[in-house]
Amino acid sequence: MHELSLVASMFETLLEQARLHKARRITGVRIQVGALAGVVPELLESAFDSYKKGTIADGAVLTIVKPPFTIRCRACGDETVREDFALACPACASTDLEIVHGMELVLEKIEMETDDPLPAP
């Protein structure tokens, strides 16, 4: 239940980027939440929706991408998407693995409206 704290941390970046790009408002935010990140996407959505009120991101839509838990074996090079979190290579049983996806808590993209003039048609 630390989703609100994650959203607060995310808003630091949102506000900074909005200032940097002279945004009038933020209309969308896209994030990646890995299966092993220890975060419940639904709770993150609720936290985002209550936090955004009255900010430059009021009305912004949050899109959550969920990269599946993926491991790569350093012994045989096999890369697998796993349902459980067991860390053994299904091909060669090696335990020398790296987690390729599943730990993500990443702010991917911010969609904003700026005061820049529209490009000439």
Binding site: L6, T27, G38, L107, I110, T114, D116
Partner: protein, 222 residues
């Protein structure tokens, strides 16, 4: 007015990660081994720290940061052993964050060998936050049951050490230590496992030796 997509691709916890990295640099330049203790409430974190205080007495200097939602109780227990302790009360938050440690850091004596950070009792949220520690230890006590690693994977995946605690109670419980250990190792083959009891003293000498070795590694690099 124009629409603009800004691709950030940045860790949501970036500011925590940056603060944690600064804390780690600072502590390691002072040759201090920082240990983050994680577990559910009641797994024996404070009791273990009391036992470590006894064993380190005269051999090394330690300090403790206690994280709890409310009360000064844990810090008082540690201070009663003659160990300097700082209590962080989060007032509701379920975990410690690096900036909370950063606020206490200037008060920590510079000449200690070990800094133990006892996180808020919770096997979920604390796992997501780097506090600037060198070692993360997760405790799993016999009464909690041997099925916890797969139910709370992030804590076990991110830990360096697993302490199977309260081993003195095992004759009275259906706790299968081998199963718990196998499950945790399946999640994280690099885990160092110790079976300990702060009451009987089982495993504590090995754990203390391990802590000294880890501290020497830091001291030799600093």
């Amino acid at each position: 007015m124009a629409k603009k997509d800004v691709f950030v691709l940045q860790d949501i916890l970036l500011s925590n990660a940056q603060t944690a990295a600064a804390i780690r640099r600072e502590l390691e330049s002072r040759k201090i081994l920082a240990v983050n203790l994680l577990s559910s409430p009641g797994a024996g974190k404070t009791t273990l720290l009391e036992a470590l205080a006894e064993r380190l007495k005269g051999r090394a200097r330690m300090a403790v940061i206690e994280g709890d939602i409310e009360t000064e109780r844990d810090a008082e227990r540690i201070r009663a052993r003659g160990i300097p302790a700082w209590q962080i009360t989060t007032g509701g938050a379920c975990h410690l964050e690096a900036k909370m440690i950063g606020k206490v850091l200037p008060d920590i004596p510079t000449d200690i060998d070990f800094l133990f950070i006892e996180n808020v009792g919770n096997l979920v949220c604390p796992a997501g936050y780097d506090l600037g520690e060198r070692l993360r230890m997760v405790l799993l006590s016999a009464p909690e049951g041997d099925d916890k690693p797969k139910k709370y994977p992030l804590a076990f995946v991110t830990a360096d050490v697993l302490l199977l605690s309260k081993s003195d109670l095992r004759p009275f419980l259906p706790f299968d230590a081998e199963k718990a250990q196998a499950e945790a190792l399946a999640l994280n083959p690099k885990l160092r496992v110790f079976i300990i009891s702060a009451v009987s003293g089982q495993g504590l000498d090995d754990l203390v030796d391990f802590l000294f070795r880890a501290r020497e590694e830091i001291a030799s690099r600093a």
